[in-house]
């Protein structure tokens, strides 16, 4: 009998808390209307392009709870999955540029335009990069390929099959990038997600795979597969014994990065307020702790640096993806 009562009590408390939040967030608008830098006055909606439970969702929720502390208003994470993330991107582009609708922007923003989607980075204001998850090349445990050189050599004399997390994914692009750089014949084999792609390497069904650090590092450290190279300019803390592609003499940098964006045309004061809050949140201990545990690196770029970076990525993927 005590249990239902406790639950009821929790429910009442939650309702009370909600009402209080609603009241407190609506009151400043009444008297502070003429002030210039009143932003933010109400709840902010944070759009995620993936379903609840994935990496993007986890990162977004961790960032949102930090942003709440910085901005003093509720930041509500809303998942709008579908159509390779373009549904959410379109939604952001169509929203009012008032700073109350922002979202998590994934690497795909620089790729989708080259894959037949109507997504143009020019329609957005980029507010800062918050993370990077580098790609890792791995091979089965009993693979004859001991090094990245071996794999490339095999690709030059014949062809190698390489699993990735899906058609049009960043890891497929990384495989095309490897082929483009070395002249090896790579057959990308898209799977339905990063887990199945890594499983295909563990089960010796493909010659190699490119996957995210999270799924690859655990399998490498558990002895289920061998990681050959990290596609980033420095070594990854979860894979301290694995060399970077650069160390091995290959100029290959591919990662699933993410940041925050809004529809283009934000008022300057709003953009500054958001950019400052994001800079602090993205470098806060609890945010960094959460994303590092899930295999990503804490990489921050200012709005200007991030915008330039996206331009570079956009033109890099144009040559990689459209040749295909």
């Amino acid at each position: 009998m005590t249990l239902p009562r406790t639950l009821k009590l929790t429910g009442v408390l939650a309702a009370a808390a909600l009402t209080l939040t609603a009241c407190s967030s609506s009151s400043p608008s009444a008297d502070g209307a003429e002030e210039v830098s009143a932003y933010p006055e109400g709840d902010i909606t944070f759009i995620v392009q993936a379903a609840a439970g994935g990496g993007s969702d986890l990162t977004s929720r961790a960032l949102a709870s930090e942003l709440e502390k910085e901005l003093g208003v509720s930041v509500i994470v809303e998942n709008r999955p579908g159509a390779s993330g373009s549904t959410a991107m379109q939604y952001i582009a169509d929203s009012d540029p008032d700073g109350y609708t922002i979202g998590f922007v994934p690497v795909e923003i620089s790729m989708l335009a080259h894959q037949g989607f109507d997504i143009d980075p020019a329609n957005y204001d980029f507010l800062g990069q918050i993370m990077l998850a580098p790609g890792v090349i791995s091979v089965p445990n009993d693979s004859p390929f001991e090094t990245l050189d071996d794999l490339v050599a095999a690709g030059k004399s014949g062809s190698v099959t390489m699993a990735n997390s899906g058609a049009g994914s960043i890891w497929e692009a990384a495989e095309l990038g490897l082929a483009d750089l070395t002249g090896a014949t790579v057959v990308p084999v898209p799977f339905d997600g990063g887990g199945p792609a890594v499983a295909a390497v563990m089960g010796n069904q493909v010659d190699a795979a490119v996957g995210g650090t999270a799924e690859t590092a655990a399998a490498h450290n558990g002895g289920q597969l061998r990681a050959l190279a990290v596609l980033h300019d420095e070594r990854h803390p979860l894979l301290p014994d694995v060399e970077t592609a650069e160390e091995l003499g290959y100029d290959l940098n591919f990662g699933g990065w993410g940041g925050v964006y809004a529809p283009t045309g934000l008022p300057d004061d709003v953009r500054e307020a958001l950019a400052d809050a994001i800079a602090t949140s993205a470098q806060s201990d609890s945010f960094v702790d959460t994303i590092t545990k899930s295999g990503a690196l804490s990489v921050y770029k200012t709005p200007a640096e991030f915008t330039d970076f996206i331009d570079d990525e956009y033109s890099r993927f144009a040559s990689l993806l459209e040749v295909k």
């Binding site: 249990l3 639950l7 379903a51 609840a52 439970g53 994935g54 990496g55 969702d57 986890l58 929720r61 809303e78 998942n79 709008r80 999955p81 579908g82 159509a83 390779s84 373009s86 549904t87 379109q90 894959q115 037949g116 989607f117 109507d118 099959t161 899906g166 058609a167 049009g168 057959v187 084999v189 898209p190 799977f191 339905d192 997600g193 887990g195 199945p196 890594v198 499983a199 295909a200 563990m202 089960g203 010796n204 069904q205 493909v206 999270a214 799924e215 655990a218 399998a219 450290n221 558990g222 002895g223 289920q224 959460t290 545990k293 899930s294 295999g295």
Partner: protein
């Protein structure tokens, strides 16, 4: 303390037990709500449980997983709407049973079969998780393709009335499955410039439309004045001795199927339920009863789809590869807690493995108790006038599908599927094969093309698992067709038997319309 003791001690802790109860209540609620799946609930709950101790957090997440598995059978049986895709096969016999006034019996049998399925699969988890998990790695693209083709042959058996109509419906499902981005090249197919379509048709919205909404529209249009309440007049709850005996064979078979399908990474309760139901039908003495309220059918469907829980857990914990979508979320949470699922888990955290098994078992037993108690209340709801029931279902379905994507597009897909489902119902086309085609078609295509990329066409015959399964699939298609052709020939040669069959059919139709009324 040894790992067994400390693992169990962590579970009998009052806070953990409280977490477990909360998870179960959330899970059953979520399961009953059509459209909201266990993986969504687990994903949302994961945001809160990260602040808890790992065992407490796992208690919440795992018991949502278990609870949802029980909850989703209820709308499947009572209103023909699977709460989640895992309950698709439950509707085949569950809803006919309810229409015959045996809703209570159907609910009890479903709960018993689910319980046995989960418990047996957990025994396998405890005894042999690591060796069994190796099986999952043998399931590459050619094996997955063969499994899915085998699954597609079920189209024949679920279209018992007319194979032609069933296969046509299945072809429509397969065609619908090609909408969206090409699985290998990423090109857009049949999207007609509509951006939302490039993600494919939302599967959950289509099943809710074809099953639940179609049934609802049908009832609205039929508008029968005489208020008969076959569903709430249930009479008997518990199976009798003969019925328990009937459950034995399908139970054993379907649990085995469920565990194996659960271990395969990309296959879950939906596929297992369908295959379990189909295989039980193949070995049954009363094949004709399947799809018309067979106790064996509902036992097999729920036993198989529930046994995938333990199977998925094996793959997830012993390999670190998600066994299904709920487990993918679970892995994410465990990593944040600093627990890496995979072979290391069994050596580094044996106590946690014990705790996980204990949570699953306790949650299952408590769920069975809750189900048996709660059912009477649930069925009482069916006493309400139809217009309350159906409008509530419509609201639930719309809200449920909207929350999948926060996008009206999903609701529109559901409503259009509802209209199509209604037309199919009225013209005698079965909805099952459409769903089967839509569910399995994309899996078949993607795995076929992956296998071809990897090793060319010979791979299907050189890999033993896929060779065996493809032969079984060929048999599953050929045998009923040959039987039917032979039967028809015999029928032609012997006018007496044709008459018999006609008489039989009229009788059956009369019985059906009686039971509907």
């Amino acid at each position: 303390m040894n790992p067994l003791e400390s693992g169990l001690a962590a579970v009998v802790d009052p806070v953990t037990l409280l977490c477990l109860i909360i998870g179960l209540l959330v899970g059953t609620l979520v399961g009953v709500f059509p459209g909201i799946t266990g993986s969504m609930a687990v994903a949302l709950a994961a945001g809160f449980t990260l602040t808890l101790e790992p065992v407490q957090g796992l208690a919440v997440l795992l018991s949502i997983y278990v609870g949802a598995n029980y909850g989703d059978r209820i709308p499947a049986i009572l209103v023909n709407t699977p709460g989640t895709p895992a309950a698709i096969a439950t509707t085949f016999d569950g809803y006919p049973m309810a229409k015959q006034g045996k809703a209570g019996l159907a609910l009890v049998i479903s709960a018993l079969a689910s319980t046995v399925g989960i418990l047996v699969s957990m025994v396998v988890f405890i005894i042999a998780a690591q060796p069994v998990a190796k099986l999952a790695l043998n399931f590459g693209p050619p094996e997955m393709f063969a499994l899915v083709v085998f699954g597609l042959t079920i189209m024949i058996s679920i279209s018992s009335k007319s194979i032609v109509k069933g296969v046509l419906a299945g072809a429509v499902g397969l065609t619908l499955g090609t909408i969206g981005r090409d699985p290998i090249t990423g090109d857009q197919r049949f999207t007609f410039g509509i951006n939302d379509l490039s993600g494919g048709l939302d599967f959950i919205a289509v099943i809710i439309g074809l099953f639940g909404i179609a049934e609802l529209f049908d009832q609205l249009l039929t508008h029968r004045e005489q208020k008969t309440k076959p569903i709430s007049s249930l009479g008997r709850w518990w199976p009798n001795k003969k019925e328990y005996k009937e459950m034995g064979k399908p139970m054993a078979l379907s649990t085995g199927i469920g565990i194996v399908v659960g271990i395969v990474p990309a296959a879950g309760g939906d596929i297992a339920g369908l295959i379990g139901w189909d295989r039980a039908r193949a070995i049954s003495k009363n094949k004709d009863k399947f799809g018309k309220g067979s106790i064996e059918g509902i036992t097999a469907a729920d036993g198989a789809s529930s046994a995938t829980l333990g199977g998925s857990l094996i793959t997830t914990m012993a390999l670190g590869i998600p066994g299904d979508s709920v487990m993918a979320v679970m892995i994410g949470s465990m990593i944040i807690w600093g627990l890496q699922p995979g072979p290391q888990l069994f050596t580094n955290n044996p106590d946690l493995v014990v705790s996980i098994a204990a949570i699953m078992i306790v949650a299952t037993v408590v769920s069975l108790g809750i189900s048996l108690v709660r059912m009477r209340g649930m069925v009482k709801l069916m006493d309400l006038p139809n217009y309350y029931i159906w409008s509530a279902i419509l609201i639930f379905c719309v809200v449920g599908t909207y929350t999948v994507t926060n996008n009206m597009y999903t609701v529109i897909v559901m409503l259009i599927s509802g209209v199509i489902g209604l037309v199919m119902k009225r013209t005698g086309f079965p909805a099952g094969p459409v769903v089967l085609g839509l569910l399995l078609g994309p899996l078949a295509e993607a795995n076929l093309r992956r296998a071809l990329l990897i090793d060319g066409p010979t791979i299907f015959f050189t890999e033993p698992i896929s060779a065996v399964m493809l032969s079984l699939a060929a048999l599953a298609i050929a045998v009923p067709i040959i039987a039917k052709v032979r039967g028809a020939r015999r029928g032609k040669g012997d006018p007496g038997s044709l008459e018999d069959r006609l008489a039989d059919r009229t009788q059956r139709e009369a019985a059906e319309s009686k039971s509907e009324r």
